[in-house]
């Protein structure tokens, strides 16, 4: 991606809760709202299901950004899954910052089933934010030790 003539196209993994954010994505789709094709959506039953290992795994495997979409506070289908993921993401961002990774590479957003427009706006602005950050430093080829 060092070629400056070529626009950097980020690879973003989005974990979307099936009750709210994934339904929001569906609404964006049937409403024919357009947004950047850089997002790879993964449906999960609850944003509380997204554990730290899944987010770190996505970054390790080459994602430039990881987006987690959950229900608004008070709306969680499982009562409190979104509160747990909120605290988890806060700690994860702190850990990533400690090793020099920009905390914006992980982003949590509340998107309800009726917010197709918010889904579109979030995907657009997050893709732009990651484009601004550039390729993930985790992706840079490192000298293997086993050589």
């Amino acid at each position: 991606m060092d070629n400056t003539n070529e626009r950097f196209e980020p690879r973003i993994v989005a974990f979307l809760c099936r009750w709210c954010s994934y339904a929001g994505a569906d609404l964006a789709g049937v409403s024919r709202l357009t947004y950047p094709p850089n997002i790879v959506p993964i449906r999960v039953n609850c944003s509380g299901r997204v554990d730290a290992e899944m987010v770190l795994g996505a970054l390790e495997k080459g994602a430039d950004g990881v987006l987690i979409g959950g229900c608004h506070p008070g709306d969680c289908h499982y009562v409190s899954g979104n509160y747990k993921t909120r605290r988890r993401i806060a700690l994860l961002k702190q850990a990533l910052t400690e090793v020099g990774i920009d905390p914006d590479r992980v982003h949590l957003e509340w998107i309800s089933a009726s917010e197709g427009i918010k889904f579109q706006a979030t995907m657009t602005s997050y893709t732009e934010r990651i484009r601004e950050l550039g390729p993930s430093p985790v992706r840079e080829v490192k000298e293997p030790i086993h050589g």
């Binding site: 730290a52 390790e60 702190q94 400690e98 090793v99 950050l133 550039g134």
Partner: protein, 322 residues
Amino acid sequence: MAKAKIGIYWAASCGGCDCALLEVNEQILDVIAAADILLWPCAADPKYADLRGYKNGELDIVLFNGAIRTEENRELAQLIRQKTKYLVAFGSCAQSGGLIGLANQSSKAEIFQTVYGDKEHWPEEHTTQNDCELDLPEFLPRLTHLAEVVEVDYVVPGCPPPRPVVSALFSALVAGDLPAAGTVFASSKNVCEECSREREQKKITRILRPHQHEPDPEKCLLDQGFMCMGPATRGGCQAVCPAANMPCTGCAGPTANIRDQGAAMLNTVASLIGTGEEGEDQLAAEDEILSQFDDIVGTFYRFSAATTIFKERYHERNGSTR
């Protein structure tokens, strides 16, 4: 039955693992009766040339402690792998890079500055001393664990491996009855299973550090707010640290069902943080507790950073952490 041939080697190591071998007390006599020690740089004086002289697979088992920090560590790991039938990652550093894996967060220059002081005192990789050419092994760009360099057959976890764990390995060795490759010589359950403290599964309402507060000796350390790694850490040590009123630091690595120990612990702690019933009105209070954390990677990944995404110091080109 012919005596087994065993070796003990240290790479980037503090020497604690070699001492831990003697924690088994008189059981060491059974080991010596059943096996000849052909390699043990800490206690005997064999040369690398002796090791090179052995046939491939001539040694039965080698206990390898320490991480891979220099070219010499890597070369010896590869050489030992050829010469032994079974290779044991002995201790946290060999298992997962260990505590010193956190050094990957510093550059070579920063590490050398800390260890040797100003640049004029840094060792040179090639020098001439008294008309002799002297080459020091290369300092690798990153510290890693044994399994990244060669195949490992068994793991004996711990920093250093505790007596019951070392004893289990020696018993198998003396009986000539080694288990299937891939065995970890410790419990498959977590440290909490062996801990006698009283757990109420309360909320974590504040984050405490053991050098600032004295823990209550009866109650669960995590309930009190100390970041005890017990829930995500493999047992086998009989919970010696919590018994001594210190939180578990996670030296034995993840339990059998977890891959990323630090992530598992982070999930656990995040789920417990809070002051009361979860709700929108609690978010500010939760944020206040979250802000009390200091050094998350050094707490949750203290012994496993070198095997995870935290094995490097990253450099964002445009980010806020640049």
